[in-house]
């Protein structure tokens, strides 16, 4: 998203489509380039647990299933930048000497450029998701150990299309772990990082436990919780069932430490309130349920659309109960974890709510506004420009009126806060419904009463 202009019903949005260096009209998604490319870099999709090539398809289920070339890592571009000469080009031409063929569809396009697409829309739904918190913050849990991983990494390890092809292996030595400890609330409900509850960790830890116990019943599983939060339909049943499978639930506050031992195992120390005593165990693998964080750049997106972020950095809804998917900017809606931590059913419910709110906003073709908006009397306006940077909704523009530049308030953008009317040195801005005279009369009447 490069630029956003306009307002509800009339957004003009400029979108940058990054150069892909593969002609997607020709690419057939065969994956040849992703196999013959000589450059290997950590695979972001698997959180660096394995490697991908510089020519790659982001993930196996990607739609459309098309390859891209990663410019900063591609040998062709690296060499070209240094020497001005093209090099490598294996993805395009193959290695004829070894009888390896290049792209069979002739789709490689090194001269691809960034494209800019302008679209006109009536409403916008922001659903940029979340970011799992990095384990590096938690020195007490030995983040340097490859066998201390986050739940998202573990999820990839369990996945059939993941770095291990679905086989349960320790990242360090590829052996099958016999004892796994999972730790909840890593970064959530923690005043040092995030005071909020990430909401989904308890349940996905139980999900992981269930998958493991059903597949590998002999594995020792220890789940450390502050407390187990299973609010939601059928969630408690899931918990009881998983416990029945033999997953050991340890409640009692935060795990105090995870230490690497010389034998390659990890010592986990915590407290069990049911036993009323400290507990200590040796695990082969430790899984940290790190907090759900707002996605990177959410404040920039919010600023582009004049939507505001809350204290924790998630985009803020206008009202928790009455306007749960609306932002302060009209026509800009939010769904999913960009609004706050939530699980899949909730995200889907919210995204459908956002979609129908957007539809009901634009389908009538007309939009009703609150009458409580500010208006500039341009005869009185002195062109001082004090109001323009002040407007939190960017609703005030400078416009030529009778050969002079004057302020103009776009009523569709005005959210009715009245800041401009309070600041206008010329008293040229009237805030309908709460004029200065009206408020002063109210105050006078109340003081004198």
């Amino acid at each position: 998203m490069e630029e956003v202009k306009g307002y509800v019903g009339n957004f003009d949005i400029k979108i940058k489509k990054k150069a892909k260096y593969v002609d997607w009209d020709k690419c057939i998604g065969c994956g040849v380039c992703t196999e013959i490319c000589p450059v290997k870099v950590p695979n972001e999709y698997n959180y660096g647990l394995n490697q991908r090539r510089a020519a790659y398809i982001e993930y196996p289920q990607a739609v459309p299933k098309k390859a891209v070339i990663d410019e900063p890592n591609c040998l062709y571009f690296k060499t070209f930048k240094k020497t001005g000469k093209p090099a490598c080009q294996i993805c395009e031409k193959g290695i004829p000497a070894k009888n390896i063929q290049g792209c069979p569809a002739d789709a490689i396009k090194f001269d691809d450029r960034d494209e800019f697409v302008d679209i006109k829309v009536g409403a916008v739904i922001i659903a940029t998701g979340f970011k799992p918190m990095s384990k590096t913050h938690f020195k007490e849990y030995s983040p340097q150990s490859p066998d201390v991983i986050t739940s998202m990494e573990f999820e990839r390890i369990l996945s059939a299309t993941g770095p291990t092809g679905g086989e349960l292996k320790r990242p360090s030595d590829g052996t099958k772990p016999k004892t796994i400890a999972m730790i909840s609330c890593v970064g959530s409900r923690d005043e040092r990082y995030h005071s909020y509850c990430s909401k989904v960790c308890c349940m996905y830890m139980l999900k992981h436990a269930r998958i493991l116990k059903e597949k590998y019943p002999y594995i020792n599983l220890y789940l450390f919780f502050i407390d187990v939060r299973t609010a939601g339909k059928d969630f408690e049943e899931f918990y009881v069932y998983t416990k029945g499978l033999g997953a050991k639930i340890i409640r009692g506050g935060r795990v105090s430490s995870v230490d690497e031992k010389p034998n390659g195992k990890l010592r986990v120390r915590g407290f069990d309130v049911d036993l009323g005593s400290p507990v200590e165990l040796e695990a082969d693998l430790v899984v940290l349920a790190t907090a759900i964080e707002p996605p990177d750049g959410v404040d920039d997106i919010g600023r582009l659309f004049s939507a505001t972020c809350g204290r924790e950095g998630f985009l803020r809804e206008v009202h928790t109960k009455l306007y749960p998917v609306e932002t302060a900017a009209r026509g800009v809606l939010i769904a999913g974890c960009v609004q706050g931590p939530k699980d899949i059913p909730e995200s889907i419910a919210q995204s459908r709510a956002a979609a129908s709110s957007a539809a009901s906003l634009i389908i009538p073709g007309k939009i009703k506004f609150e009458a409580i908006v500010s208006e500039v009397d341009r005869e009185k306006c002195s062109s001082c420009g004090v109001c323009v940077p002040l407007c939190p909704y960017s609703a005030i523009k400078i416009e030529t009126y009778k050969d002079k530049e004057k302020a103009k308030i776009e009523p569709a953008l005005c959210a009715g806060c009245g800041v401009c009317a309070s600041a206008c040195p010329s008293r040229a801005i009237t805030f309908h419904g709460f004029t200065t005279e009206q408020v002063i009369e109210q105050i006078s009447a109340l003081v004198e009463a």
């Binding site: 001082c384 420009g385 400078i398 002079k404």
Partner: protein, 318 residues
């Protein structure tokens, strides 16, 4: 038809407004021919108060009063002029909103007299003599002085038809006002005889007039700090120019000389309290609220010309 009669009185002012009229130069000759100046005291004509008191009520067409109302004599003459004049004009910022001399309202009369007559290093006044309203010397010489009061604007003492701002009003502005007066093309009573717009609208430094938005100030500077960028808005640069709040009949003299406006032109019509509007506008133009603590001497900055005419009017003195 006889010539319109004009009276001019300097109350608690400095005479600068009188000079602004005199600055009309050749135009003043035309004005003097067109009107009959019946009273101009104490500066220009030899009229005495008792002459004025003797004139019939309503016999003067236009009365101009410059300076604020600071003592019982000013108040008395203002009331007399109100009776004698059909139209009364608060001429200059002192009469209109209180002026620099209105800053006396920050202190009590006792505090002011104490500083002026007793408590300075250079004063030699062992008996602590200060001016008295009445005094009998040697048992027979009966002397009186007017009573000092808090400064007031003219309209706090008598009803006023029109206001003219400026400290002093620029002679072009005075000319325009006199032309309007003599031709009878006057706005409705209670108005300012001014352009009615802020200094910004005529200021060459205003980026808005070039279609650019005004940026928020990221620093607060005193006038002596640095040199403003040529042609750049002083407020953007942190010089706390009051141009957005002040009427621009002055010809943008100060900002053109790299000096931020302090508001002598008076408030824009519709603004009751210049100081509060100035605080509001300046606060709106500052990027970080922590900068507010750096504003040097806010009371002299925002209320320099308008303390008596402001909502609060004076400091509460206990």
């Amino acid at each position: 038809m006889s010539k319109p009669k004009l009276a001019y009185y300097l109350a608690g002012g400095c005479g600068g407004c009188d000079i602004a009229v005199v600055d009309l130069s050749e135009t003043l000759v035309d004005v003097a021919l067109a009107v009959d100046i019946v009273f101009w005291a104490p500066t220009v004509a030899d009229a005495k108060y008792k002459d004025l008191e003797a004139m019939p009520d309503g016999s003067i067409d236009v009365g101009l009063i410059s300076g604020n109302i600071r003592n019982s004599e000013h108040e008395h003459i203002a009331k007399v002029l109100r009776k004698k004049c059909k139209v009364l004009i608060a001429f200059g910022i002192c009469a209109a909103t209180g002026g620099i001399k209105g800053l006396v309202n920050l202190y009590t009369t006792e505090q002011l007299l104490d500083k002026a007559y007793i408590n300075t290093m250079s004063t030699d006044n062992p008996d602590k003599v200060i001016p008295q309203t009445s005094f009998v010397l040697d048992g027979k010489y009966d002397l009186t002085l007017p009573t000092l009061m808090d400064a007031r604007t003219l309209d706090q003492v008598v009803p006023v038809e029109y206001y003219i701002g400026g400290c002093p009003p620029h002679y072009d502005h005075v000319k325009a006002a006199f032309t309007a007066l003599l031709s009878g093309q006057l706005p409705p009573p209670g108005s300012w005889i001014t352009m009615g717009k802020a200094l910004c609208e005529v200021c060459g430094r205003n980026p808005v007039l070039q279609g650019k938005p005004k940026k928020l100030a990221t620093t607060v500077k005193r006038t002596i700090e640095g040199t403003p960028t040529e042609g750049a808005c002083l407020l953007e640069e942190g010089y706390l120019c009051l141009g957005p709040i002040t009427q621009g009949d002055c010809g943008v003299k100060c900002p053109n000389a790299n000096i931020p406006c302090r508001g002598c032109g008076g408030p824009i019509p519709g603004v009751k309290d210049f100081g509060l509007r100035a605080i509001s506008a300046v606060a709106s133009m500052i990027e970080d609220e922590k900068l507010i603590d750096q504003i040097p001497d806010p009371v002299h900055n925002f209320y320099r010309y308008n303390l008596p005419g402001s909502t609060l009017g004076k400091k509460v003195k206990r």
